[in-house]
């Protein structure tokens, strides 16, 4: 698999307040690659910076430092025509489908706007192209065209937005909480659609979610973010089946699952001080040590599985030794 997007040392600092003000580092020196035909889920709780990463790649926000390289070109400084061309290949679909449509226009408008700006040369085949793209997302154009957004379900609207990206030559879809507002009975079909687009159209998807079981179901690769940092990164099966970062472990233990009751825990809500330049999970971490006052880097602790945690480094080191002991 080759890389479609390379994100390098991406940092976003928001400044708040009028005079003087204070700074919030929403994304802190984050690097990762998105490969062709890969679904990569970006998992984190509110405030983790996951949405900011998506918005930076979509150029809806300006990065503070770092690079976002799409097909060899740094897109962080693109302007005008070149930026417009970038949007042929990179598109976003967001959480609230009803907010993505203007309620006073028919849904056809999202296609019209596209043909007016990007597909002028294809206007003669407009109708066929729209019908074809709707079919690809499992919709019958007769049920869709000529109707208003309020006559549609949330799942239908999200599919229409995905169909729209298919008319362009979209290589990367940023799906930010795409299905969190959909009902259980329709959400899995939209998830399956993402899987099909990856397999058939070779599309890559950055699937931003707070729901771990959905991420597990659909993605090839998983990134766990906490307070602007990637704390664990790797093949989805490795991250979920062998979580190494204490934060990932806490998240997984808190996921409500059918067939597994929550263990009653010490109510883990304490928040304390994080030493400057220290591990972002320092105040909540049950394994925090003195060395954690210096922020750990992401390290590959097993093949295709990176973790930013000193304790995990020690643990995996130990487990290898224990394994050896057994063999002897």
């Amino acid at each position: 698999m080759d890389e479609l997007v390379k994100v390098q040392n991406l940092t976003k600092i928001f400044k708040s307040g009028l005079v003087g003000g204070y700074f919030t580092t929403a994304v802190d020196d984050v690097s990762f690659d998105i490969h062709r035909s890969e679904i990569i889920s970006l998992v984190g709780e509110s405030g983790s910076g996951k949405t900011t990463v998506g918005r930076l790649i979509l150029r809806l926000l300006k990065l503070s430092t770092g690079k976002i390289i799409y097909e060899g070109v740094d897109i962080s400084t693109l302007k005008g025509r070149k930026l417009r061309d970038y949007y042929k290949y990179v598109q976003g679909v967001f959480q609230d489908p009803f907010a993505s449509f203007n309620p006073i226009f028919k849904v056809d408008r999202v296609f019209d706007l596209l043909f007016d700006s990007y597909l002028k040369d294809k206007t003669d085949k407009k109708h066929e192209l729209i019908v074809e793209s709707l079919e690809k997302v499992g919709l019958n154009s007769l049920d869709i065209l000529g109707k208003y957004p309020h006559q549609m379900s949330g799942g239908q609207l999200q599919r229409i937005l995905i169909a729209r990206t298919l008319l362009l030559d979209t290589k990367l879809l940023i799906a930010d909480e795409l299905i969190s507002m959909l009902d259980a009975s329709t959400r899995v079909d939209v998830l399956n659609l993402l899987g099909d687009l990856r397999d058939k159209e070779k599309m890559s998807v950055l699937f931003i979610t707070h729901d771990l079981s959905l991420g597990y179901y659909i993605s090839d690769t998983t990134m766990i973010m906490y307070r602007g940092n990637i704390v664990e990164f790797g093949k989805t099966k490795l991250v979920f089946d062998n979580p190494l970062h204490p934060y990932t472990r806490m998240l997984l233990s808190a996921v409500p699952e059918i067939g597994r009751k929550w263990k009653k825990s010490e109510l883990e809500m304490k928040r304390g001080e994080i030493p400057a330049g220290g591990c972002p999970y320092f105040d909540r971490c049950p394994l925090a040590m003195d060395v954690c006052r210096k922020k750990p880097n992401l390290k590959e602790l097993e093949k295709d599985h990176k973790v930013a945690c000193y304790a995990a480094e020690v643990m995996t080191g130990d487990s290898i030794q224990i394994g050896k002991g057994h063999n002897n």
Partner: protein, 330 residues
């Protein structure tokens, strides 16, 4: 077990210009004392309407029939002044989005005092504040919270404040409407554990826990009721509903949930094709008919509403496929 709440053939409609929307259309269920009763269903199934209507029938919501008996007392058509006394003390609610509904210009202290005063004029301001601080501490909030504004609190903290406020007067029945939906997983777990503790300490006796998320119900509910398009389709013990669902809708709903360990590439799940019916003009028969893969007796399913019957002890189902067993039992 004693029944705390008994709901019979209860109907709540919305009055609109186009006609009546039959959001809750003849539901039957009961809630035992000292239990968490989960209500699950998809958007538009009537679960929130049901919860809200038990507390306050606000226009365009309209009572359209049936009985609601709380602690032996019929409360469905009480005059407003009497119902106002019941609210908060006997029956309380944590409404959906409550955490975002707190006034941003009032200190938490004032919100608490105003609210309690509205219902209990005898309690002194000091008593109210002392009680609230005691409860806040129990859920890990410091007493400084009293002097803060709601916008200064995180989502998880706001939800805890709302939960403490709604249960301050120890209501018998608490209706919790989607209290975990907007929260992170760690805060979800916290809220559920908190509710559990409140029950243990007898701040509330029973809870009606409304959510679209069955996996959260699995953690907390003793029994689960599944609703579809204004009707009850199935009621049973949590374990039975989750591991041995009987109604075709419940079966499909549970099988469409991605579970940990299930991946698209190996095990492709399917949703439920089709959409729920329009409740302005609902179908005459079973409301799941259009999407149902079973349709045991197509003519009957299409034309007659299946009644909710006790198919096995404690297990209630509304589906024509399960009425025969009942005939034998009866």
């Amino acid at each position: 077990m004693a029944r705390l709440l008994d709901v019979k053939e209860y109907k709540v409609y919305y009055q609109t210009l186009k006609g009546q929307i039959r959001a809750v259309d003849g539901v039957n269920f009961f809630v035992n004392a000292d239990e968490v009763f989960g209500v699950a269903g998809e958007s538009g199934c009537g679960k929130s309407t049901l919860g809200n209507s038990l507390i306050y029938l606000k226009a365009p919501m309209r009572y359209a029939g049936g009985n609601v008996i709380l602690d032996g007392m019929e409360i469905s058509r009480l005059p407003d002044e009497i119902m106002k006394k019941m609210r908060f003390e006997k029956i309380s609610i944590i409404p959906q989005f409550a955490m975002d509904a707190m006034s941003p210009t009032k200190k938490i202290k004032n919100i608490v005092v105003d609210l309690v005063r509205e219902h209990d004029k005898k309690m002194s301001e000091k008593d109210i504040i002392d009680l609230a601080i005691k409860r806040f501490k129990m859920v890990g909030l410091s007493e400084n919270v009293m002097n803060m504004y709601s916008i200064e609190l995180s989502g998880g903290m706001k939800q805890r404040v709302v939960m403490v406020i709604s249960t301050l007067l120890n209501p018998r029945l608490l209706i919790a409407d989607e209290i975990t939906s907007a929260l992170d997983v760690s805060s979800q777990k916290f809220s559920v554990e908190m509710l559990d503790e409140f029950k243990e300490k007898k701040f509330v006796s029973s809870v009606i826990f409304i959510t679209h998320d069955i996996s959260v119900l699995y953690q907390i509910a003793d029994r689960i009721m599944i609703m579809y398009a204004g009707h009850v389709v199935e009621i049973g013990n949590t374990e039975d509903i989750v591991s041995k669902p009987l109604h075709p809708y419940t079966k499909l709903l549970i099988s469409s949930l991605p579970k940990m360990g299930v991946q698209f590439s190996q095990n492709r799940l399917t949703g439920i094709p089709g959409y729920p019916p329009n409740l302005l003009n609902p179908p005459t028969g079973c409301r799941f008919y259009d999407r149902c893969p079973l349709r045991i007796d197509p003519q009957k399913c299409k034309n007659e509403i299946p009644p909710l019957v006790e198919y096995m002890p404690g297990r209630y189902i509304a589906c024509w496929a399960y009425t025969k067993g009942n005939d034998k039992n009866g």
